[in-house]
């Protein structure tokens, strides 16, 4: 009796590539009208025939991230680690927060990881080198997105009072540094703080003249 051999072929071993990161919960962004931060952007300024890049400061809304974790801040458990944030969002809106719906703004990215999914903002890029996760966040793009939400009227109300409070905070630092301004390094820090305070005040003045149109310069 003779047998017919079958040609050998290697067994296909396609191992699924997973991000070596812990699973985490999905999230949403929110903003409270009192939360602002002063940021600088490079802006092309043309004077006469010459164009140069200047650093210009803007007050931008501090958009904050809240993870939807069952058992935390009134989030009910739906299934396992899945939570229903409905009542939490309602509570936040009652307290004056603006809820930025992830389904509408599409800012959540997810990766498959062991035992679940890893959720991060779309501005965060993730690379894996030597089984180590290297994350980087495109802060500039994120800030420009937050500025665009002012321009399209999503984030309201815009109240310069909170910017004035921020500029008053910088006065405290200036007062403290003035005591030791004979030290060259402190003198330099002091000058930087003076510049930031001046830029804050000039931004408030520009906003009072131009309104939210001022944010169109950076988006």
């Amino acid at each position: 009796m003779s047998f017919t051999p079958q040609p050998w072929a290697p067994i296909q071993t396609t191992q699924e590539q997973l991000l070596p990161e812990r699973a985490n919960h999905p999230f949403f962004y929110k903003w409270h009208p009192s939360n602002w931060t002063f940021h600088y952007f490079d802006k092309e300024v043309t004077k006469g025939k010459s164009t140069k890049i200047e650093r210009v400061g803007y007050f931008l809304p501090t958009i904050r991230l809240e993870r939807i974790i069952p058992g935390v801040n009134g989030v009910h458990q739906i299934n396992g680690e899945q939570g229903n944030p409905g009542s939490r969002i309602g509570k936040l809106q009652q307290e004056g927060w603006v809820y930025l719906d992830p389904a509408k703004y599409q800012y959540v990215h997810q990766y498959r990881v062991r035992n679940g999914r890893y959720h991060c903002p779309k501005w965060q890029s993730v690379r894996v080198v030597g089984n180590r996760v290297i994350k980087s966040f495109d802060r500039d793009a994120f800030l420009k997105w937050s500025a665009s939400l002012i321009v399209d009227g999503t984030l309201q109300p815009i109240e310069p009072h909170f910017w004035e409070l921020e500029s008053l905070k910088s006065n405290k630092v200036i007062g403290r540094l003035q005591n030791t301004q004979h030290i060259p390094e402190v003198k330099q820090q002091l000058e930087e703080k003076y510049k930031i305070r001046e830029d804050m005040l000039s931004f408030i003045e520009s906003f009072n003249q131009k309104g939210i149109e001022i944010y169109k310069e950076i988006i």
């Binding site: 809240e66 974790i69 801040n73 009134g74 403290r176």
Partner: protein, 296 residues
Amino acid sequence: MAQMISAEIRLLLKDSVNLRNTPFVDFVGSINGMGSDTIRVRKAFLDGEDGFSEFTGATEDGAVGNKALVDGHVDVVCKRNSLAYAISDLASMTGMGSDIDPFRIAEHISKSYDALFAKLTAAVFGGFTAQVGSASALTVDVWVDAIQALEAAASNKGAPGPYVCVLHPAQFAELQDSIRNEANTAVSYSPASFEAISAKGSHYKGSYMGVEIYTSSYVTDNGSNYAAAMFAAGAIGYATGMPASLPGAVEAMEMGEVMVEMDRDATKALTKVVGHAYLGIAIIDDDRGVEIATLV
């Protein structure tokens, strides 16, 4: 013999220090027998807040108007948290003494509750409305801003101290660097003593300007900023639950806040050790806390 096995198992580093047994986190109740998985915490101005401000009568016999009582509530929802291990008879029987056996695993599950509590505590910090910090590292200036935000909370009524701060370890390192660069020695940092660490746990780092400091690797970030917090007692509360009986369970033990039960799969020679804990945590009074957001 290929290798000698040491009799002692060295424990790996852990991060499970939490504020459960401190005055900084309130126990708001158990859901057992309450008819719901939610504890509703009631809040009201009931301790002399109004200062007779309603009397506006222009004359001696003018009528005083009724004052509405200011009140509110917060819901603390409990969630089932579970952890299960299966240990084979072979692993159990070849163990040296009782180093890794079902009862040691049960103890491990019970202790994991501390890590769960630390994780959920850190998860609420991003819910505080007040926020300090900037697009920079954590400095003494940001630290002072946080203290002053609490002192000026609720339209300058102020949150009563003492305050506690839970920082990401990287933020604490930045604060240490900033303190080193301070020229002013009027406010000095008090590092945690051996006795204080023994009492409060390995992640207690001392106090600065009267604020107790703990670090926690569970402090979250949004890719750009950490969400740590400084808060006063009464800011955060938690609720728990514990099954009263487990009909049909072969063996069940109440270990602290965790119900641990054993299950046997004889066909596979496996003993399963399963723990359940019901826990919910929430911000009770938003005015008593401030988020410290500094660059990752």
